[in-house]
Subunit: 470 residues, 2 copies
């Protein structure tokens, strides 16, 4: 069943991984079925053993395959069977074709407001990054939506959002984040702030909400304004501390495993598993709100799988936004509901109209399904990869006076320093520096955080960095 193509830029291990995952999703491989042994598959395909091992390891990490000692590898999947046509073909081949095709798009991309949104201190002006968004493509799609849809644009849309957009997001999540969610269970809303407000109503005010400490302030503010119980939960090096989570008595964990703000922690698979186990236990019903913040930016290896795809207990709600990856003035976010919650949504929240105008939804649907969104992200990645290297070089230029703590992900990292010159030089390049202490709740700031700063380079100027380094 497995076809690999050596001419693609995509690694062989990833091609094998995606082929097997596709076969599991489409039901060609069923739960309990034994996979070809690693050695034999390596021989069949003419690849090295380590390549197959990497592919199997990824499938195990994502929970689609389990290893039984001495007897081999077995499929483990209780999700829905998805028709092949829904999976947009073989995703890695699609991606390769797309990468080769995108040379007609000029410039990089803009995700300038991403961290500016997370870090309210960042300048609100759009810098170089603004010029990189494929605005001409976006404008062309807007015009064609206007022309083709005509008065149909005035028609009411379903409460959860326009079918085209939900379907495009479902496909995108499958291709890029490696999980499948039926488009009906994707709810479109105008911003994550809006969705968090709805989630409080959906889950219920009797819940108590745990947020990361240190952490992003907006969810904390929203819980406070809604006057629901919320607790700050301590972080350790792997993310939210499970013991602290358990002891806090909260029943909803609001976390950002892909890349935590401000510490930069990427939550390892083992911790993700532990938190899912926490959510599945307990006498009261428990949930995880997974803010997939910054998952687009990982500087080495594949991004870790989203917790939504790892969860088989209907406990994880996945939240992400396009406002930050496209433009802050385009307010479109979405959440994926697990099966049980979707029914509750329909029953309790079905009367709410979708808060995003139909026109924007149709435009974004095309932007995604015609491949522009992923190209834009890929260009952004390339640009930020260069900027990141320059920023790290700048940090190195301060010698021993700066210690960098970086996890190969996202558009920010932390440093420890007592060198006052750092802030000055960073400001010249559009890099913001803030004390990590601003992100701790009252009276919880650790003593050793005194000289720790969050370095945010989402608005950095590549030109200025280059001139300062030369």
């Amino acid at each position: 069943m497995i076809e690999i193509n050596r001419e693609l830029k995509i690694s062989l291990y990833q091609q094998i991984y995606e082929n097997i995952k596709r076969d599991i999703f489409t039901g060609r491989l069923c739960t309990g079925e034994k996979l070809t042994s690693k050695r034999r598959l390596a021989e069949q395909l003419g690849v090295s053993l380590i390549t197959v091992e990497n592919a199997y390891a990824q499938l195990i990490a994502e929970g689609y395959v389990r290893a039984a000692e001495k007897s081999g590898y077995f499929v483990q999947y209780n999700g829905e069977i998805i028709p092949l046509s829904r999976l947009s073909g073989n995703t890695c081949f699609d991606e390769a074709a797309r990468n080769e095709n995108d040379s007609h798009l000029k410039g990089g991309s803009r995700l300038g407001e991403k961290a500016a949104e997370k870090d309210e201190s960042a300048a609100p002006t759009i810098t170089e990054s603004a010029e990189c968004f494929p605005f001409t493509v976006w404008a062309r799609l807007m015009r064609s939506v206007l022309l083709e849809k005509g008065t149909a644009l005035l028609q009411p849309i379903p409460n959860g959002g326009a079918a085209e957009l939900r379907s495009a997001v479902s496909d995108y999540l499958y291709r890029v984040r490696g999980f499948y969610v039926p488009s009906e269970r994707i709810i479109i809303g105008s911003g994550t702030e809006y969705l968090y407000n709805l989630l409080i109503q959906l889950l219920g005010r009797e819940h108590s909400y745990g947020t990361e400490n240190p952490g992003y302030r907006k969810p904390i503010e929203i819980y406070r304004l809604n006057d629901v119980r919320s607790e700050l939960i301590a972080m350790d090096d792997c993310g939210m501390d499970v013991k602290a989570l358990e002891e806090s008595g909260v029943s909803v964990a609001h976390i950002s495993p892909a890349h935590h703000f401000p510490t930069g922690t990427v939550m390892p698979i083992s911790r993700r598993r532990e938190i899912i186990t926490w959510a599945k236990s307990g006498r009261k019903e428990r949930f995880i709100i997974e803010d997939d913040y910054d998952s687009e930016f990982r500087w080495s290896g594949r991004p870790l799988p989203a917790m939504f795809g790892m969860d088989d207990g209907g406990r994880v709600i996945y939240v992400n936004t396009f406002s930050q990856t496209i433009a802050p003035s385009v307010r479109i976010s979405y959440m994926c509901l697990p099966e049980g919650l979707y029914e509750r949504w329909q029953e309790r929240m079905g009367f709410y109209s979708c808060s995003v105008p139909a026109f924007e939804q149709y435009t974004l649907a095309r932007f995604i399904s015609e491949g522009y969104f992923e190209r834009h992200i890929n260009r952004s990645k390339k640009r930020y990869r260069r900027i990141r290297e320059l920023v790290l070089e700048l940090m190195e230029s301060f010698g021993d006076s700066v210690t960098v703590n970086e996890e190969n992900a996202g558009l920010h990292f932390t440093i420890k320093t007592d060198n006052t010159e750092v802030r000055e030089k960073c400001a010249l390049c559009g890099i913001t520096i803030r004390s990590i202490r601003e992100y701790y709740g009252n009276d919880t700031t650790p003593a050793d955080s005194e000289q720790v700063y969050v370095v945010n380079y989402s608005n950095a100027s590549e030109k200025r960095l280059m001139s300062i380094l030369n």
Copy 2:
């Protein structure tokens, strides 16, 4: 100071009224200043005494002038002084010019979803009314916004909304609803549902919210989902019963004085005053949420002034929407905050991003400021005036078996009937009929409501009505 123009289609009394109001707003006439006597003004202008009397009566009704027995009429205005340039010239002259100019716009208008929104039973399909929205104009404005704004569309906008739109709404409200609110105090949001949620957070969860019984269900659902205390307050023939309001102990009155759904009651000025007095008294702070639903449709005389403009105590929050007057798929609503609340908004809610995409806001701003919105409303009015007459004719055709209760306003009214044929014939014409009992809270349905029905003609087909009547 007063100039009248007999060639305009606008009545002389309205011209006098608007001239004086303009002079009050701009500070030409100050509080305490005595107006020219009615008789003398009539002579000066060469109009009948009754014309001047009507103008003065309107100014008194709106609270800008008070009559002191035997000594004359005195200006009474403690609001802000507004520069003449902000008032868009003499509004009645503007309006006249606009009315004469709009013959190039084809078709009528569509407000089909207006009552469909209010009455969830109405068919979600857009009927004839959909074809009447000036979509070509809307599409042209979209294209020109896209062309002229370019990448500026990607820039973040202020949390309260785009300056252009807030300024256009401020001008519109002054022209059409007769009150002035500085554009900074207008908050743009994606739908009234969204705004009601924000208002709970702004006013505070310690408040208890009173809604009209019978009444529109959505606010009640929103208060319930937010788990704030709320009470159903009985209505009498003039609107929310003030005694019941006082006795209920609530501190926020959520009302729709312009045209109540489902009873059709238009709240008289005296009752509006009483409720404002209620809000200004009490030991705890009290507020009024004024849903200006259906204020666009008044079939005789001028619309009554909005409570927001009558209030001098910072107690009234004005809420209205364009989603219903333009299209349900365009989710743009707004609220006007009184002075004290605006500061609280900035402090508590300032971190929320505006939930409406910038593009839609710029398009709507032009649609309003270039006069298309009012033309659209005027065409809608003409069309619904014809439909209303046909619907009333249909009711008459049932003879004594149907008693109509109608207040010359809005797109619905109530009837009392035991004739089962009514529902059938109405359904044929796209008119929805529902028992008024569905809009009462549990155990509060009055016994005499058994045969009372709400007749909603927002989606009625003019053609079908004509063919059924002929």
